[in-house]
């Protein structure tokens, strides 16, 4: 059994809010063979990435670093998918918050 981890930043203007949290947990659940956890710091606390209640309770703001770790058969698949989701900004098109010109 391998354990893998990755670190990535949240760029969504409101952070890990309701819609992204739902997307993240739903995606984590599509990989049943892996246990996936998420944390705001390397040292933890590590949280079950398949529970939207627990992920929302992290209250991850914009610019927060998110750490993922996964173990089990499909650990790599799970990590890649989650990192890609965050990198795609949860597929949420958003306008720039500031309007400096």
């Amino acid at each position: 059994m391998s354990e893998l981890s990755a670190r990535i930043e949240i760029t969504n203007p409101t952070g890990l809010h309701a819609r992204p949290a739902v997307k993240l947990t739903k995606l984590a659940k599509t990989v049943p063979a892996a246990a996936v956890q998420v944390a705001l710091a390397e040292a933890g606390p590590w949280i079950d990435a398949k529970s939207v209640v627990k992920v929302m309770a992290m209250k991850a703001a914009r610019g927060t670093a998110m750490h993922f770790r996964a173990s089990g058969e499909q650990a790599q698949v799970a990590i890649d998918a989650l990192v890609d989701l965050v990198r795609r900004d949860f597929d949420e098109g958003h306008a720039g918050a500031d309007a400096t010109t």
Partner: protein, 527 residues
């Protein structure tokens, strides 16, 4: 009864008038508790019934409403939400009390959040807690009459979605502009006022509210209703006029053609936008490509983004601004921390020229993307000609390097932002292909009023005659020299300022896409 006027905070614009319905918090009815096993089954059944409700609501919801219901569904399906209640039931608590107390504790955590957004989620938890509790008590929620004005402490998103609001509105004693309900109300055009602490129906049976002004009238008198009807009619007229103009080139009442461009911060914004509604992109902000930290985007990634934007425009001009970090837009690892006055510090082109390894990559990506359409490069915070010339030299070098390596590239027109007063006062010293006035920064520099200091924010007004005169002089210089002058600050998207800007002689404006309809309508009225 005599009219009673109350002022709160605007949450969703629009005028509403109708029957006043005051919602009371539902009283807990006595419920007979059974054994722990029976109580556990009762809670599970109530949760299942609540999930069925949410699925039924979701079937008719769209957009933000559907997203909110999906969130509530995911929360309610999550075992972690009910776990504390099930533990209390196992220890002998009745289901309704165990549920209410454990959800109240979880809701309180959201209410204690520092972030507005997370705090606003408390109403979602409140909503689903109430839904399950009503099923536990065997109650159903009475439907609100269509078109009523609701007065309540707060309103649940699911109740909002279950109501026919035609003509009605929402008045809340608590509530927040950042709540899901407020977002839904804005998206659906339902007028809403929050922060009406202490408001009571107290025998009043009719109400009117102005969501844009944040005012509620109980028993509104005929004069108030007549005035509000006028406001509503002219707003409806303006919206209808504006929608009809959206896909037409903008012209003033005297036939002067005004180019209307859009501002873009993220290429994802362009999905679902039809380029036919604008004359091109007048400002592409590139700061969002540069994440708060964790590495800068490489040339290929930037090239892909710029190319996508240029291709979206289908041949229309696309102005892309080089990195404008610093000031109120810090980027970790790039901008300088701890400057005593960041707005007067190392920002915009000043920063780019101090970080050539980053600036050159951006210019290379831009030169490559320019092969695919009418791309123009705009340099922010130009103060002296040497900055523009240094940028030009880097661009020429980038094109030469790319060409030597067999990579297609062209040097696009190089223009500048006019936001530093020294540049606005003497534009003729710069050899810029075009000028774009950044009215936000120009205004704060000319009025000596920082945009991010609330106590002086009202002084930073683009209507200041000093600011307007500078804009007019830059526009006049552009006409004499045959160089395009446009304006891309917030002022360009404010229909109340359109007339003043056109009077300055501007013939090109760039604004947020959703400002186009009303600004085009304001242009059409201008003589």
């Amino acid at each position: 009864m005599p009219q009673h006027e109350l002022t709160g905070h605007a949450a969703a614009p629009g005028i509403a008038a109708g029957v006043l319905v005051e919602l009371a918090e539902s009283r807990a009815a006595a419920r007979q508790a059974g054994s722990p096993a029976e109580e556990r089954a009762a809670l599970e059944a109530a949760i299942a019934a609540a999930l069925t409700d949410l699925a039924a609501l979701a079937a008719t919801a769209d957009g933000d409403g559907a997203g909110m219901l999906e969130f509530q569904t995911a929360m309610l399906e999550d075992e972690a939400l009910r776990e504390p209640a099930l533990e209390a039931i196992a220890a002998g608590a009745p289901a309704d009390i165990a549920w209410a107390e454990s959800l109240a504790a979880q809701t309180a955590e959201y209410e204690a959040a520092e972030d507005d957004y997370f705090r606003a989620r408390a109403s979602d938890l409140h909503d689903l807690a109430g839904r399950v509790a009503r099923h536990l008590r065997g109650e159903t929620e009475a439907a609100l009459p269509p078109g009523c004005v609701v007065l309540a402490d707060d309103l649940t998103p699911s109740r909002f979605l279950a109501t026919n609001w035609a003509g009605g509105g929402i008045a809340l004693r608590a509530g927040s502009k950042a709540s899901h309900v407020a977002m839904l109300a804005r998206a659906r055009g339902v007028p809403m006022v929050v922060g009406l602490a202490g408001a009571k129906a107290d025998g009043h049976t009719a109400a009117a509210l102005d969501g844009g002004a944040g005012v509620l009238w109980l028993s509104p008198d005929p004069a108030t209703l007549t005035r509000l009807n006028g406001v509503r009619a002219s707003a409806a007229q303006a919206a209808a006029d504006a929608a009809g103009l959206l896909y037409l080139p903008a012209r003033t009442a005297t036939g002067r053609r005004i180019a209307t461009h859009i501002n873009v911060a993220d290429p994802a914004e362009l999905d679902g936008l039809d380029p036919g509604m604008c004359d091109g992109i007048g400002l592409t902000r590139t700061e969002l490509l540069f994440p708060a930290s964790g590495g800068l985007p490489d040339e290929d990634r930037q090239y892909a983004v710029y190319r996508r934007i240029v291709e979206w425009a289908q041949g229309r001009p696309v102005t892309i601004r080089t990195l404008d970090a610093g000031g109120d837009k810090p980027i970790a690892g790039l901008t300088v921390d701890g400057e005593s006055n960041p707005f007067l510090g190392l920002r915009g082109v000043r920063l780019s020229l101090s970080r050539l390894e980053i600036f050159s990559v951006q210019l290379r990506a831009l030169a490559r993307a320019a092969v695919h359409g009418a791309l123009k490069i705009m340099v922010p915070m130009i103060t002296v000609p040497a900055e523009l010339e240094a940028t030009r030299a880097l661009l020429v070098q980038a094109v030469a390097d790319l060409t030597a390596a067999g990579i297609p590239a062209v040097a696009p027109p190089l223009g500048m932002m006019v936001e530093v007063p020294a540049a606005a006062l003497a534009p003729e010293q710069f050899d810029a292909a075009f000028y774009s006035i950044g009215s936000n920064d120009l205004t704060q520099y000319v009025t000596a009023s920082a945009r991010d200091i609330g106590s002086v924010a009202s002084l930073a007004d683009a209507r200041n005659p000093g600011v307007l005169r500078l804009i007019a002089e830059v526009a006049a210089y552009g006409k004499r020299a045959g160089r395009e002058v446009s304006l891309c600050g917030d002022a360009a998207g404010d229909p109340a300022l359109t007339g003043a800007l056109l009077t300055c002689g501007l013939e090109s404006l760039s604004m947020a896409p959703n400002a186009l309809p009303l600004v085009k309508a304001a242009i059409a009225r201008h003589r």
